[in-house]
Symmetry: C2
């Protein structure tokens, strides 16, 4: 049973109307064969897989969870089979380069697929979750023989990669990583140490598992600048066969959610690995993967929001309780109305819609910028890279927070039924909670955004974004003057906040303000997304475009005002924060 229908119509709106991506593709040699129709076909196929293969395994995967028995991990029933279908469908290779056996399609389509996988079955989606990032990381950093040996396996989906950072004492602070790598005469290294919270560290979906491991070479400097990145496959090639590498799963976690995803403890007991990139430059090599992972994780938040929107909207249309204070035009008064007519439920549904669709526009925009920057001149590419760098922490943190918050709001729409497992929304709420934590907690994202992406260049990178938003405000001036005024006001507010932060002599102030600054910027970006949506939807008189304009108005009336509060809190954070 599937209770998720991929939102293909809105995806199409974002890709074809909001981004007008097909026009760009037509002008790029790499994607000139791709048009709107072909892209839509790809998404229809991905949607079928998500809706009919993955979604039906979501609840059962949660109930069964993973099993661990003496080093062996079994994923829930149906997970390995659906992964085989995923591989047979060629989905792992979607955006890999054609010379590596990939299909060379744009990231934008991958982004849309990742959203669908997350909506349908977040736990399952964890397994192939970092494959694209690992592909990019190996492509950039691995020596030729590793690329030749292992890239095809990643591209085909035959092997799945993991990202091995966390250790019991080293979470946010990866500088505390202790795993050691001892160089061997043959150029390999022997790794010893313990990693925890490794998603898919052991599983029964692929034969080989490719661990990307941060560890320390001898005499490495302490802290993060002494970390090197290694590839440690589960199996080692030997003449005439293969040998199990000395990396073992010692247990799996029992978690609040994503229970179908095996979160493993790994013991490296002299495991053979090979250096990727330069010694002590593991962070740089890893960085490629982390940015991709953060965008991906943001899309999980979007996926949860979409799922929550669908569940709540469906229930609110069908459940009848109490007489509503008002009803849609033309609907006759009744003793008992659908709960979707009641103001607080209506507000929740509209907020779910406005946030979900707004985030979709922003997430896909980022994916499209990642495609664009490979197709344009260096100067333009640098600008896009800077913009993506600015957006990435916002997408990771804001989308994940909204995924959780909106799931909770959707659960509330169900009343008591929402708290029961059979209804499905409580699983979405549990699953969504991890997204605020992994791939760098949302607090880490906020610090990254404010200190490194905004303040480090004196607000320069941000000014480019603000210029874009002010340009959108100009486009709204004639037909949507209220949007124009509000957009300008948010831009002014962001500028004031940055000024306050840059002028302060209190070195801790940015850390106290970072969370609210991220949220302020997220609201600015959402306002941009909705102003642009309203502009694109202007003059189209069908239901879909009418609803877009209506939701845009709701966003400006009911959601955007929060920006003033965030600015208020940034000012408030000038007060000292006592130690407890």
């Amino acid at each position: 049973m599937s209770n998720y229908t991929p939102p293909l119509r809105d995806m199409q709106f974002v890709i074809e109307e909001w981004l007008a991506a097909p026009d760009d593709w037509a002008g790029w040699e790499a994607h000139s064969a791709l048009d709107a129709e072909l892209a839509a076909q790809v998404l229809v196929e991905a949607a079928k897989f998500a809706q009919h293969e993955l979604a039906p395994l979501n609840a059962s995967g949660d109930q069964q969870g993973c099993r661990f028995d003496n080093g062996v991990v079994s994923t829930p029933a149906g997970f390995p089979e659906s992964y085989r279908l995923f591989v047979e469908g060629g989905w792992p290779s979607l955006c890999c380069a054609e010379e590596d056996g990939g299909q060379g399609l744009p990231q934008l389509l991958n982004v849309a697929m990742l959203e669908m996988l997350a909506s349908a079955n977040h736990a399952w989606a964890m397994y192939p979750g970092i494959a694209q990032g690992a592909y990019e990381c190996l492509s950039e950093s691995a020596p030729a023989w590793i690329r030749e040996r292992y890239l095809p396996e990643i591209v085909s989906g035959e092997a799945l990669p993991t990202m091995c950072l966390t250790e019991p004492q080293a979470g946010t602070d990866i500088g505390l990583i202790r795993t050691k790598a001892e160089p061997q005469p043959d150029g390999s290294c022997r790794l010893r140490g313990n990693k925890i919270f490794i998603s898919g560290g052991e599983q029964d979906m692929t034969d080989d598992i490719l661990h990307l491991v941060l560890a320390r070479l001898p005499e490495a400097p302490p802290g993060p600048r002494g970390l090197s990145l290694f590839l440690v496959p589960k199996w080692l090639d030997r003449e005439g066969g293969r040998e199990r590498n000395e990396v073992y799963c010692t247990g799996i976690e029992h978690k609040m959610g994503i229970r179908g995803s095996a979160t493993c403890s790994l013991s490296f007991e002299g495991a053979t690995g090979w250096l990727l990139g330069e010694p002590h430059a593991g962070l740089k090599a890893m960085f490629v993967m982390m940015n991709s992972a953060r965008l991906h994780v943001g899309l999980q938040g979007l996926g949860h929001a979409e799922k929550a929107l669908q569940l709540a909207t469906g229930y609110a249309a069908e459940r009848r309780q109490m007489r509503a204070a008002s009803r849609p035009q033309g609907v006759a008064a009744a003793a008992v109305d659908p709960i979707g007519y009641h103001a607080p439920v209506r507000h929740s549904l509209l907020e779910l819609r406005a946030c979900t669709e707004g985030m979709r526009a922003l997430g896909y925009w980022t994916g499209h910028m990642l495609d664009t920057l490979h197709q344009v001149g260096e100067e333009e590419a640098a600008g896009l890279r800077r913009r993506v760098a600015l957006l990435t922490p916002v997408i990771k943190a804001f989308f994940s927070e909204q995924g959780f918050r909106l799931s909770s709001n959707a659960l509330q729409v169900f009343g008591g039924y929402g708290y029961m497992q059979e209804c499905g929304i409580e699983q979405t709420l549990r699953d969504s909670r991890i997204v605020m934590i992994y791939e760098g907690t949302n607090e880490v994202q906020a610090n990254d955004l404010l200190l490194r992406k905004v303040m480090a260049d004196g607000g320069e990178g941000l000014r480019d974004l603000l210029a874009l938003v002010r340009q959108e405000a100009e486009l709204a001036t004639a037909d949507r003057p209220r949007f124009a005024r509000q957009l300008s006001a948010v831009c002014d507010t962001v500028e004031e906040a940055v000024g306050l932060l840059l002028d302060s002599q209190d070195s801790e102030y940015p850390f106290r303000a970072a969370g609210n600054f991220l949220r302020l910027l997220a609201l600015l970006l959402m306002a941009y997304a909705w102003a642009r949506s309203a502009r694109v939807a202007e003059g189209r008189d069908d239901d879909f475009h009418r609803q877009k304009r209506q939701t845009a108005a709701f966003f400006f009336d009911y959601v955007l005002p929060e920006y003033r509060h965030r600015a208020d809190m940034i000012r408030a954070a000038q007060a000292p924060l006592p130690f407890v």
Copy 2:
């Protein structure tokens, strides 16, 4: 293993210093034997029970859940045994009248006990949860023979009551209840119908279970005004023995949390019951119980917040990651600091503390007002009753929302560990989520507050509360002028908002604004609580009172500013809210 230490010091502060309750008790004949020392002893004993009996069963109860087998429900291991200890300790009778075999202690002590039970083991605390409410309901509404037969069993704890309202089609809208009651020649009724979501509807802790059931007598008017309240015991007295009544448990729910609490479906198949109160006046009879239940449920939110505070504070002191931007005076710089030094974690811990302690003051204040109104003249009692009526929906909705939100913030402090079951905080988050739903969803509370408690009397009842807050502002003027200014500003803001709402011609406007209005009023009340705490703590130079003043300052700097946002959203809600 217990990971909960009852916050006796802060409870003592609220009872003895903030409320100065012992002074009141001394003047009341009913409680003149009670002094601060005796009250403290009672709480020490309750604390021992909560900490050493209940808290160790919290995680195991969640993992085991309840079992249902052919009509029989088994609660988790240890639950029945600890309930026997609860009964032997005399806890069910704490606040029952001495003529009914109770101890006649004030509600205030019960309130403190309920907080501890909820912190220690919310699922367990569900079983005796409505006993006090049912005691009050039967005392007021039951005929003499029922009072004589059943009140002693409730007072002793020998039998546990349930509250049977919800039916599959009747949740928020109890007017849709269909269960029928057919009068019999002997004065009893036969009840037929299906109830769902009945906490403790079947269990193995007490021999008898006393169901309080809303049902319809023949020819009852439709809607809520056609409901009557019945007592339906599990066992019927028969000459020389007893007979099983025709009420059966047909299943239990699988829930997101409070898994140790049996949430039952009950089938009434011609069950014998007796009318409580007047025919068709079931809501009035039930009302006594509902108000008590709403305060109780609010205390669960407080209990979760306290538990979350303790878990997060403990972890933040012990876990070390990264160098902090600042540290407490006198602490030497280190390469790796306790995460409690980092600004976002510090902010979370302070917010947990400020909200938890502020809610405690408000919740206990309400309990003390419930005691007071029985001891004063009718006019004063009416004023207190009005104030309690105003506070009750705020306590239910705001405390439950904070319980969930703060648990989520506490989970975030733990990073990845927080998502793992062994850490405990994820259970708190799951358990806390139901509180926003049951006993009237938070949306129902918001409508109740704004439409019935504030607007119905043209803002008259609210004015009394505002006068009290303005009086507190005056007391702060000399020594804490900033608090005084902010308190006055919040009062002005609330008055403006009420004016806007009363003046509006748009009959749906209050429904669109109610949620934000409740939150605005909650912030006003919290500000009152903290201003009064700071005043009471003034001039005391020990760590405890110093910290109170520090937390008060934090509240005014970092938490209270949200009130402007809520007022902003109330204004924003004048915009129409489209139908989706």
